[in-house]
């Protein structure tokens, strides 16, 4: 192999590559996350046992909701986008027969309880995932994130980022009605 001479335009490539990467990063900083298919869709939701936020001595496990359609909503009191979706969750909680379980991720329990006391509690229960291990099992990409789980405990849908009223009306509620039918 001969040593290379010339072709100096090639030397600009690393810079161009980096600028491309930078564009992705800057885009990422202000991205609007939405639905991200999960490898769990169509498969049984991973089981876990976690202490409840309202009563840490009690635990919750997905098995307790067999036979019901429910949402697993990953949230935290420090998370701004969770605050955005909170009113929508309050509305969803009104839907007949639907249970919403909050997976309170990497949060300070007192802060989480204080937030629910102030903003209202859409959750049947919230459970504490302080070290995010359950979130990792679910492949959670960021907070907030919501999983729709059916009567048989199968994950049907995953919503990344906060749920807008439109998302609830156009995606989640039709799906929930279909599963409940």
């Amino acid at each position: 192999m001969k040593p290379k001479h010339g072709k100096s335009w090639l030397l600009v490539l690393p810079l161009l590559g980096f600028l491309g990467l930078l564009w992705v990063f800057l885009h990422g900083l202000q991205r609007d996350p939405h639905a991200l298919p999960s490898s769990w869709i169509g498969r049984p939701a991973p089981l876990f046992v976690l202490p409840r936020l309202d009563a840490p001595a009690q635990t919750f496990s997905p098995a307790m909701l067999r036979g019901r359609v429910w949402l697993l909503n990953v949230w935290a009191s420090w998370c701004e986008s969770c605050h955005t979706e909170h009113p929508t969750l309050m509305q969803l909680a009104q839907h007949d027969g639907l249970a919403i379980v909050g997976l309170n991720q990497q949060d300070v329990p007192d802060a989480a309880r204080a937030w629910l006391a102030k903003a209202g509690n859409p959750y049947l229960w919230s459970v504490m995932d302080r070290d995010a291990r359950v979130s990792i099992d679910y492949g959670v990409y960021g907070v907030p994130e919501t999983f729709v789980i059916d009567q048989a405990g199968i994950v049907r849908y995953r919503h990344l980022g906060s749920i807008s009223p439109q998302d609830a009306r156009d995606i989640l509620l039709p799906l929930i009605r279909k599963l409940q039918a």
């Binding site: 192999m1 001969k2 040593p3 290379k4 001479h5 010339g6 100096s8 030397l11 600009v12 690393p14 810079l15 980096f18 600028l19 990467l21 930078l22 564009w23 992705v24 990063f25 800057l26 885009h27 990422g28 900083l29 991205r31 996350p33 939405h34 639905a35 991200l36 298919p37 999960s38 490898s39 046992v49 202490p51 840490p56 635990t59 420090w78 998370c79 701004e80 991720q105 990497q106 329990p109 504490m128 302080r130 070290d131 995010a132 291990r133 979130s135 990792i136 492949g139 959670v140 990409y141 960021g142 907070v143 990344l160």
Partner: protein, 644 residues
């Protein structure tokens, strides 16, 4: 302990002094280097010493604040409380965002000092350019720290006691892992500065490469040790029995390691044969860029990982901008100047250079794959191509076909001659090595009935590397040649790779685990072992309550060990118990027990693992780091710099 009243303000003052010193050093030395101003050039070393003194003084203030529980400082109050033992309180100094950024700046300034001290033999202008580049980077990060993440900021209302550091971090791992890792990341700043200097002067030659090599090796050695320690920590602390999770944070640390490894090898070719000059310089820039990305990308919040550190997007943007500025400026310089670099010599398709090229290509493809997997969701989103998430299966599937040929190259490379290798001369040696490792692999397969082809391939690759090392040493001894420290270090590091490979392949193939419930007195069988739960007792630690189980392990009816896994409830977060695994660690297997939750009928959830050969993974990494150390202290490098 009585604390001086204005210690935090003093710490901030020292921090700003350090930043000013670095900035003055950078500007003065760039000026002096450009104008060959002898008097100013002589200021290089005193200035380097001064900025290091200020930065260490500032960090000492931070440590003192943690030691003295000064909760008027926000960062202290958020990360430590009086119940935490002193070593963990000191470790908490780098347990959060502000402190880890300050540790980074401290270590950058330390490397700057070391360069100033060890560059006696370099021409004054070269030394000044290197120190100026480092000073500029250092000043940037220190100013960013003081402006956006001041660790010395006071609270208006002083709490009686602080919050607590995440209990998962309260472990000896916290004391050693981040400093080692950051020593590695920051060490690549030296190599980066050397590359920038090479581009500025247009002189990338054997002397340049010889001077860059020991720094690269040292940084790489720290990074290797830091990553290995982090993996070991995750293994015993997280209680899953796993040692690598392809988490964005881990990916961010493995990428500069892969590139740094590539750089080590391309530098060897640049020094010995004067080839790959442009490529080596680019690698030096890229390795540091990835170290920056490793240290900050995850912290900036761009990658929303479950390890999200900052919640303030403005802070993330500042870090990203500074990092981007450094990388873009250096790549621009590269684009403008690298065309002056030309290779000195040619090489045949079968030669050591060619193998090093293959090594570099494979390592870079591996880095690109990890980068792609880490950024894929972000990338697709940016391009509006839909959504996808990427998990460990992606990484394992993609990296395996890259690493297997890499392992084969590792065995083959040192057998080849520089410039051109005659195939006829190589074949007998290859035959002997193949016979040796093939025979051993067959023997092993017969004895242990491997479960998959992959296991056989893993064991074969490890034996291939080991046999080739033995062969190379034999040749050396027969030729009567002395074994230099650098060569010994290379073989030791390659042996480490073989040991790690064997550990990964065998522990993946033969591990056993069970997740069960045991009442007191009950037992369960796992492979050759029987585990019986003797008792669960309550106890009291410095800042936690603990339930300690005593699990007797039997092997073929004989009592072997008592394992005592714990479930700790820290005072700060009593509702989130932390599991402390108990591990009976032997050279050939680990027995690993974690205590889960108590169940109503008085029994306990227990998770048990049998992990054969798992310690070889870290033993191999230790050998790699040790190999690096041997190579770095080679006499050749101590004489280096006299030339050029």
């Amino acid at each position: 302990m009585m604390m001086p009243p204005f210690l935090p303000e003093f710490g901030l003052l020292l921090l700003l002094t350090g930043a000013s010193c670095s900035l003055v050093m950078a500007l003065l030395l760039f000026y002096a280097a450009h104008h060959r101003h002898a008097l100013l050039l002589a200021l290089a070393r005193p200035l380097a010493l001064l900025q290091w003194l200020a930065m260490s003084g500032s960090f000492a203030c931070l440590l003192l604040l943690f030691a003295g529980n000064d909760f008027s400082v926000r960062y202290v109050a958020h990360n430590a409380n009086t119940a935490m033992p002193l070593p963990y309180r000191l470790g908490a100094a780098w347990g959060g965002h502000e402190g880890s950024l300050q540790l980074w700046t401290l270590l950058l300034s330390l490397w700057t000092l070391v360069v100033a001290v060890c560059s006696r033999r370099l021409p004054a202008v070269t030394r000044a350019q290197i120190l100026a580049t480092m000073g500029l980077i250092n000043a940037g990060f220190t100013l960013l720290l003081a402006a956006s993440a001041n660790p010395f900021a006071r609270l208006e209302v002083i709490p009686v006691d602080g919050r607590e550091l995440n209990p998962l971090l309260q472990d000896p791992g916290l004391i050693f892992h981040p400093p080692l890792l950051y020593m590695g990341y920051a060490g690549f700043a030296v190599v980066f500065a050397i590359a920038i200097t090479g581009l500025l002067s247009g002189r990338i030659d054997a002397a340049w490469a010889r001077w860059a090599r020991p720094w690269t090796i040292c940084a790489w050695m720290f990074l290797t040790a830091g990553i290995a320690l982090g993996s070991l920590w995750a293994y015993y602390e997280l209680g899953w029995g796993g040692w690598w999770f392809w988490d964005p944070v881990e990916n961010a640390s493995i990428m500069p390691w892969l590139l740094g490894t590539a750089l080590l090898h391309s530098l060897a070719a640049t020094e010995k044969r004067g080839v790959f000059k442009r490529w080596t310089v680019l690698l030096a820039i890229l390795t540091f860029s990835f170290a920056l990305i490793g240290a900050f990308l995850v912290r900036s919040g761009v990658l929303s990982s479950v390890h999200a550190f900052t919640s303030d997007p403005r802070r993330g943007l500042l870090i990203l901008l500074l990092t981007a500025l450094i990388i873009a400026a250096s790549l621009l310089l590269y684009a403008l100047r690298a065309d002056r670099l030309h290779g000195d010599s040619q090489f045949a398709p079968l030669s050591r250079e060619a193998l090093l090229l293959a090594n570099n290509i494979l390592l870079c493809v591996a880095t690109a794959s990890v980068l792609l997997g880490t950024l894929y969701p972000l990338l697709l989103d940016a391009l509006d191509l839909g959504k996808l998430s990427v998990g460990p299966p992606y990484f394992n599937q993609v990296l395996l076909p890259i690493f297997l040929p890499l392992l084969l190259c590792t065995g083959l490379g040192p057998q080849l001659r520089w410039k051109q290798q005659k195939l006829a001369a190589l074949l007998p040696a290859l035959g002997r090595i193949l016979l040796c490792c093939g025979g051993l692999t067959l023997l092993w397969s017969g004895l242990f009935s491997p479960p998959s082809v992959l296991t056989v391939l893993g064991v074969f690759s490890a034996l291939w590397i080991a046999s080739s090392i033995v062969h190379a040493l034999q040749q050396r001894l027969r030729g009567g040649k002395r074994l230099s420290m650098a060569t010994a270090g290379m073989h030791l590091a390659h042996l480490g790779l073989a040991v790690t490979t064997a550990g990964i392949a065998l522990s993946a193939a033969y591990s056993l685990e069970t997740d069960t419930q045991l009442g007191i007195g009950q037992s369960v069988r796992l492979g050759d072992y029987q585990f019986s739960l003797l008792s669960v007792e309550q106890g009291l630690g410095p800042n936690y309550l603990t339930s300690t189980a005593r699990i007797q392990v039997w092997q073929q009816g004989k009592p072997l060990r008592v394992l005592m896994p714990e479930k700790r409830r820290y005072q700060s977060q009593p509702d989130m118990p932390i599991s402390e695994a108990a591990i009976a660690a032997g050279p050939f297997s680990h027995l690993y027990a974690t205590l889960a939750d108590p169940i109503d009928n008085g029994s306990w959830g227990v998770r048990l693992y049998y992990k054969p050969m798992v310690s070889w993974i870290w033993a191999g990494a230790a050998l790699m780091a040790l190999g690096g150390l041997l190579a770095a202290v080679d006499r050749r490098y101590r004489r280096a710099g006299t030339a050029s």
